[in-house]
Symmetry: C2
Subunit: 395 residues, 2 copies
Amino acid sequence: MTWLKTGVSWGWLFLVWPLLAWSAEPMLRGTGDLGVIVERGAGRLVIISTSNNGIVQRVDGLGDLSHASVVFSRDQRYAYVFGRDGGLSKVDILRGMLDKRIVQGGNSIGGAISQDGRLVAVANYEPGGLKVFAADTLEPVADVPAAYGDGNLSKVVGIADLPGDRFIYSLFDADQIWVADVHDPPAVKIEKFTGIGRAPYDGLVTPDGRYYLAGLFGEDGIALLDTWQPQAGVQRILPNYGKGEEKLPVYKMPHLRGWAVAGRQVYLPAIGRHEVLVADTLTWKETARIAVRGQPVFVVARPDGRQVWVNFAFPDNGFVQVIDTLAGQIVQTLEPGKAVLHLEFTPRGEAVWISARDDNKVVVYDTASFAKRAELAVESPSGIFFTARAHRIGF
Amino acid sequence: MTWLKTGVSWGWLFLVWPLLAWSAEPMLRGTGDLGVIVERGAGRLVIISTSNNGIVQRVDGLGDLSHASVVFSRDQRYAYVFGRDGGLSKVDILRGMLDKRIVQGGNSIGGAISQDGRLVAVANYEPGGLKVFAADTLEPVADVPAAYGDGNLSKVVGIADLPGDRFIYSLFDADQIWVADVHDPPAVKIEKFTGIGRAPYDGLVTPDGRYYLAGLFGEDGIALLDTWQPQAGVQRILPNYGKGEEKLPVYKMPHLRGWAVAGRQVYLPAIGRHEVLVADTLTWKETARIAVRGQPVFVVARPDGRQVWVNFAFPDNGFVQVIDTLAGQIVQTLEPGKAVLHLEFTPRGEAVWISARDDNKVVVYDTASFAKRAELAVESPSGIFFTARAHRIGF
């Protein structure tokens, strides 16, 4: 340690230290209690802490964040933001700054991060296909056009990660589900399932990473793939799921990604109806329907599965309802604010954060007492994403 | 910003900076990929990263760490270490230093952290009872002696957290299960379940925080409490679980805490037998028995539930076996090293870390290929705990 011998005086260090800490070095802190909220209009992320229900800082310059989604690096330091404009931004949530940003496509709707954290994949509408990037540098490592028919490219929707550095997604225009194995990029092994049903519009993976479900826009029912037994192919389940014979106006397509598995039941937003559907995850048969306030958009289980929280499409988008899964009925109706767009639970479920876009605020509720714990001023908030997602499969 | 006006020269900053970073400030980093390994003989923690399979640093001075267990703060910065000697240590894993240490009892076997992260609870053998501390300061906030009969105190075992800032645990000497609600300390509301079966020796909560199971040392079967419906009381399930009529020598009591729920099946270590028991979590009936190499100790599911990994008591404690839960049979037998004590999966399950005490090493395996990915030199390693536990219920 030669620097010890140079006779440096240490007195100045204590004078300068606070200044250094303030000016150059962000606070040393764990990242397990952090999250980000999308300020959709401003193209900005708000970094928050669930420990003090407070705002840490903001990061801007992220482009068009309408319908943006976010995944996290395995160390929970970086947020990858998928923008509607095809932008892919890597944000350092400890330093509160943009680490890197690329525009990788013309129109994208979401992405995912591989099980080992090395790869970030983006599902593109335009040009239709999957693009894969190195998580550290955002260098492109693989490009998988969603080609079908005579040189057509399909919009890609409903992407999720699967164990084994695979991504699963649906081809809206081609009625297909693809599984891309990117374990050894740039080589990509693709397994294709065709004729899965008309116009898959969104998809999700069960929390254990086993089942993939794609909602169909073009017909009733849901396409189901058991990824542990792909040789069995895609089945059709819940034949009454969809608009059905009585065509109802659909104000907003529900988000399947926000679905809820509680115990062995899955809670699904009915399309166009004021109902939440309940199905058994063993038989995949419908077991109940629960009448709710409006057309459900997000149907999300508290992490322990005892409650399922639901928000709604216009004109009921000022309400949130809570289903008690043991009782099988609604136990609470809340009015967090105007235009509720999203909700996110703290990892162990003691609180839920809800964005009210048209009131420019995010409201934090205690999930046991339903008391309001905090309100944060956030400009047109949409998606809320906590770092615990880094540890989950299928996000 | 008045300090800008003082005419400070900034040139020195760039000279001094690397030195500061090295000498005073730990590396800025996320905490989602960190973990700790207990060096039981040395009273030391090894802080590791699952991103590079490497050792970050060591922290010593933690007392007797035989049979030590660990929980994490909600921000994933601090590890709380429960030592056999009644020591409770709070370790700052970012700075790699002991933040605070108290000796709170004479003999303890484990602890838990509350859902909101404010409280740490220790289950004590001596004096028998539960002690609760503020997570930030380790100041005592509540003391719940495990009193029964004529002024006796029972050993407390099988502690786990429940939603709502509650802790559940068993009284070994009193044949009871207690639920302590510490939402408003120092007030503690206790709900007692008596006559639950002879000598509960360990317990666990299902991943959703709903069911508590206590293994019985004094008789066959398992005590089950549905914490969503406590009014139904404690039931007895798996009447053949235990030593049964044919009394076999038991080399090491299995650890229930490391149990496995995969899909809707639970995998339990049979006591004294070379078997893993499988039971349905809906009916709580036994559905299968899988013959394994030795007497199982830890039976742990990979996070996606497709595999269950098992280690064994002496003389088979050099082996680890892997059950494929879809096939219902063993698909791999590994020999990681001498005296395998514990195993821990990375949060999304691509790797597993295994401690081999008598070979002074921890081995990292790829769970898809079973290839050895790394070996770390660790002195008499026992428990391995990753920070993702901060986000889980029942740990």
